[in-house]
């Protein structure tokens, strides 16, 4: 087998030193490594192709179109929950101690910052009295928690909590009624029918 011409030529070029010298520093006239040259040109070819985007095979349909398509597919796969709570089902949860205890934990993490740890109210209204701004039945409380009161800074927790967590935390809030908080906020809203 004979050595390819290319190889011989490269061997001849290898480590040929250039005549100049700067403060004693010299330079070889070595050819650039093949793989480097290939990488250099390939990235350029890729970039031109990607930017020109023939038949949407480069950059694609654009970030907004992609986002819209993603949202449509996602909404179809995950229909929004009904937003309503079933009163009978919720009252059944209230009766189950372990679930109320779970609800208490969620309350401590998400609600206590505004409604106080004991439900006495602070940034948000008092949850221990009989007065309710957005309805005092258990299903209307569920609706308030689920949809939030965005104008007043109450988030829509239905987007953040799972269905069972929603039920647990609403059940816990229901049990707060009639308790005696340390620093109760003055009653707001309409007194609920007993």
């Amino acid at each position: 087998m004979t050595e390819p011409t290319q190889g011989r030529k490269e061997a001849a070029e290898r480590d040929r030193i250039l005549e100049h010298s700067y403060d004693g520093i010299q330079e070889y006239d070595n050819p650039m490594p093949q793989w480097w040259v290939v990488t250099f040109w390939l990235t350029i070819v890729f970039s031109v192709f990607y930017y020109l985007n023939p038949f949407n095979t480069g950059v694609g349909s654009g970030m907004k179109a992609e986002y819209d398509a993603d949202m449509v597919a996602f909404r179809a796969a995950h229909p929004a929950n009904s937003g309503g709570g079933n009163a009978r089902e919720l009252l059944a949860v209230v009766a189950r101690k372990s679930e109320v205890a779970e609800g208490k934990k969620i309350y401590a993490g998400k609600c206590a910052a505004c409604h106080a740890a004991d439900g006495g109210g602070m940034i948000g209204p008092n949850l221990t009295d009989n007065a309710w701004i957005h309805g005092g039945t258990i299903d209307s409380i569920y609706a308030t928690v689920n949809n939030g009161v965005l104008a007043k800074g109450m988030p829509a927790w239905g987007k953040l909590l799972k269905d069972d967590e929603m039920q647990e935390v609403v059940a816990y809030v229901w049990t707060l009624r009639g308790s005696t908080p340390a620093k109760p906020k003055a009653a707001e809203g309409v007194v609920a029918a007993q």
Binding site: I17, D23, M32, T39, T43, M71
Partner: protein, 756 residues
């Protein structure tokens, strides 16, 4: 040695000039480099501690994360990196050109001027004077000083080029030249602003355009302050330390020009998925991808210069530092193009991944090249043997170990958080809807970073000790080595360069010998570099500014009220943008978490833009109206009262610091000068602001909050935060009913109605 080399030169028949090199200035820059480096890195350790435990904010407004983070970045980039560049540049330029610096006086002005600028930064940043642009935080008087000192440096450098005794410019000098020219352009055009006080100004650009200019600057600060200067240093000190020729002259030509031309386009990759027009961010991405090979050209030329000398690495700490430094350069310049790919960027942007990427480059490349260079210089500058080679070896190992701990921990943190942000459960809800869940998960990694970073700083103190002890062994008087070299002849023509035989045109192009002629013409060379960087800049800047459709306006977006504008200035002063973005990307997990994605028309009055680049806390683009005023008052006073585990510093001083009412009129006036339609507010900003402040304070009081806040900064920043993202809601919905008068969004709206 130099004398002998000159004597052998054919031109030795002409009379030789006798001169000496100015090494005193090199010693000065070197000491400044290490001193500022140690300070900047210690501040880095402090802010790393703050992210692990907010108690390290020390309860002072001056030492909170938002104010110290810019101090850390400015100190390590411009004080450590800058002085390192000047150290190596002043040493090598004189020797490569066989000429003393053009003017010793200019050298001294450059040195002292630069150190004073750093001192000014160290004082003003903790005081909260900032332009809110990353790595360009310094306020306008300091910016002017930087410009002047940079021009002094440029004149000194170019003057030395003119009186050089070496006909051709070596590759290191090409890199220095490109750095000097481009940094000047970047600095001037990004910092254009109108002053609104001694240490307060507003960027002349707003929103999308300001973001574009900032990242054109920001990315190229990395390119022309941390990459090209250090490549220049590598090209001088690597072959010196390895005592062997550079691997490939042709490679240095191709990678130099492609690097200089391509880098400048890449900035918009910092703005993927933002309101920046997509054509620009796509351009930023493809040019970043194309930068991979040019960057690696430098790595190859550095590492392959060691061919046949690898055995020396075992015994030489200098070469060890260079090998790891160049390897880190290779790693981060592979990672950079990868991060610029949109889908990768979607995961990494706003996360710690970027911080890890930056520190591979900064600790590995900039740090280790600097340390290697200093160890090589020490015996030469102090004319005494290095105090302890063992200590230098130890510095190398402890530094390397520190880098590994740092980057492994922070890469893990970044990827963890990025994945948590985008995780959905089977019901289609965000798996981690509370932002804080994605923060507390990172704490162990943050502690590892503290350890890694501290080890690295310990290494720097070892270096400082080595410098000190070597300096102590210096001679009573430094010997000034006389150098003899012939001046350049006035008339001269480049010898005809023989074409490589039998290879035709392609061979001639490939051999690149024609480039040699340009190396003897520094003026032409500078012009070519300027053209290369200017073309790229103009190709992106002109359309961004001129095409109206790039920023579709939204009719309901109105200027901030005077009080909100002041609140925004408080937000800027505290550096809130260091941890909170205001830019929601059109990605499902972003809009589910934060709300509708950000539109270009929303930030048309944002001088400067405050989109942010990192989320240590959640995005705030839709924060307005999300919580009641009292929530914010309580939260600012101590975030942990509301969010358990929050890392945010407490801002109790907001409720105690009075609003300087008189300043508000000036600031509104400057905004109006910049074209913000302020209408009536131009004359009665103060009374408008006072009225809105009273409304906010009354609302806080009515809900059981603290009393008498109407003159305090807290109402201004609350008013600002409550305004964020409100205007676009008006574009989407019918005007809200008046019954909401007690809520803050309504307060903001009523105040806004006073505007035209």
């Amino acid at each position: 040695m130099t004398v002998a080399a000159v004597a052998a030169h054919p031109s030795a028949v002409t009379p030789l000039d006798a001169f000496s090199y100015d090494d005193d200035i090199v010693r000065k820059f070197m000491v400044a480099c290490v001193a500022w480096g140690a300070i900047g890195m210690l501040i880095g350790v402090l802010i790393a501690l703050q992210l692990a435990n907010p108690a390290f904010n020390l309860g002072l407004e001056y030492t909170s994360f938002g104010r110290l983070r810019p101090l850390h970045t400015n100190a390590v980039i411009f004080a450590f990196g800058g002085n390192a560049f000047f150290t190596g540049c002043y040493y090598s330029t004189q020797r490569l050109l066989k000429a003393r610096m053009y003017s010793d006086a200019l050298s001294k002005i450059h040195f002292w001027g630069w150190q004073l600028i750093i001192l000014a930064a160290a004082l003003t940043l903790p005081l909260g004077f900032t332009q809110a642009k990353e790595y360009a935080e310094l306020e306008w008087p300091i910016d002017i000083a930087i410009t002047v000192i940079w021009v002094v440096f440029a004149v000194n450098f170019i003057g030395t080029l003119i009186k050089r005794r070496e006909r051709h410019l070596y590759v290191a000098l090409w890199f220095y030249l490109a750095s000097i020219i481009t940094v000047a352009l970047l600095h001037i055009f990004n910092n254009l602003a109108i002053p609104a006080g001694l240490f307060k100004s507003y960027s002349i650009y707003a929103g999308v355009q300001d973001a574009f200019m900032q990242w054109w600057y920001g990315h190229n600060a990395v390119a022309f302050f941390l990459t090209t200067p250090f490549l220049g240093l590598m090209y001088y000190f690597m072959p010196k330390a390895a005592e062997g020729p550079v691997f490939s002259y042709r490679l240095s030509i191709l990678h130099f020009w492609s690097l200089v031309f391509m880098y400048i386009w890449a900035g918009p990759h910092h703005l993927h998925y933002t309101s920046l027009p997509e054509w620009a961010s796509t351009l930023g991405m493809v040019f970043s991808v194309m930068l991979w090979a040019p960057s690696w050209g430098g790595m190859i030329n550095g590492l392959l210069t060691l061919r046949g000398s690898w055995h020396k690495v075992v015994n030489d700490p200098v070469l060890k530092f260079f090998v790891i430094g160049i390897t880190a350069y290779g790693m981060s310049t592979f990672e950079g193009p990868m991060l610029s790919i949109k889908s990768v960027n979607g995961l990494a942007h706003y996360s710690d991944w970027i911080i890890a990427h930056v520190h591979t480059g900064a600790l590995g490349w900039n740090g280790f090249i600097t340390f290697g260079m200093i160890y090589w210089l020490l015996p030469r500058l102090f004319q005494a043997p290095l105090y302890s080679k063992k200590l230098a070896e130890l510095h190398f190992w402890i530094g390397t170990f520190g880098i590994i701990l740092y980057v492994v921990a922070i890469y893990s943190a970044g990827v963890t958080q990025g994945l948590m942000w985008r995780a959905f459960d089977e019901t289609g809800r965000l798996m981690y809807p509370d932002f804080i869940e994605t923060v507390v998960r990172l704490l162990p990694m943050y502690w590892v970073r503290v350890v890694g970073g501290s080890l690295y700083v310990v290494g720097v103190f070892m270096l400082a000790w080595n410098i000190f002890m070597t300096w102590r062994a210096r001679p009573a008087v430094y010997t000034e080595q006389m150098v003899f070299a012939a001046p350049l002849a006035k008339r001269w023509s480049e010898p005809v360069i023989p074409k490589p035989t039998g290879e035709g045109l392609i061979g001639w192009v490939r051999a690149m010998r024609y480039h040699r002629k340009w190396e003897a013409m520094p003026v032409l060379f500078s012009v070519m570099v300027t053209i290369a960087v200017a073309i790229a800049s103009l190709f992106e800047i002109i359309p961004t500014f001129l095409i109206k459709s790039n920023v579709p306006t939204i009719a309901s977006v109105k200027p901030y009220t005077p009080l909100e504008l002041y609140g925004r200035d408080v937000y800027i002063k505290e550096g809130c943008f260091n941890c909170h973005s205001q830019q929601i990307r059109p990605l499902r997990y972003e809009t589910e978490r934060y709300g509708e994605y950000s539109k270009p028309g929303e930030s048309v009055y944002d001088h400067p833009f405050l989109w942010g680049s990192k989320r240590n806390g959640p995005d705030l683009a839709r924060e307005g109206g999300k919580y009641p005023n009292l929530w914010h008052v309580t939260h600012f006073n101590n975030p942990r009262d509301i969010v358990t585990g929050s890392l945010m510093p407490a801002y109790p001083h907001f409720a105690k610091t009075p609003i300087p009412w008189a300043d508000i009129q000036t600031r509104v006036g400057v905004m109006a000068m910049l074209g913000v339609p302020y209408g009536n507010a131009v004359t009665n900003a103060v009374s408008m602001a006072k009225k809105q402040a009273q409304d906010v304070a009354t609302d806080i009081e009515k809900n059981g909050g603290p009393v008498g806040l109407q003159d305090m900064e807290i109402v201004a920043i609350v008013a600002y935060v409550q305004r964020l993202g409100q205007d676009i809601k008006l574009a989407n919905a019918a005007p809200p009913v008046a019954a909401r008068a007690t809520t803050t969004p309504a307060v903001a709206q009523s105040a806004r109605r006073m505007l035209p």
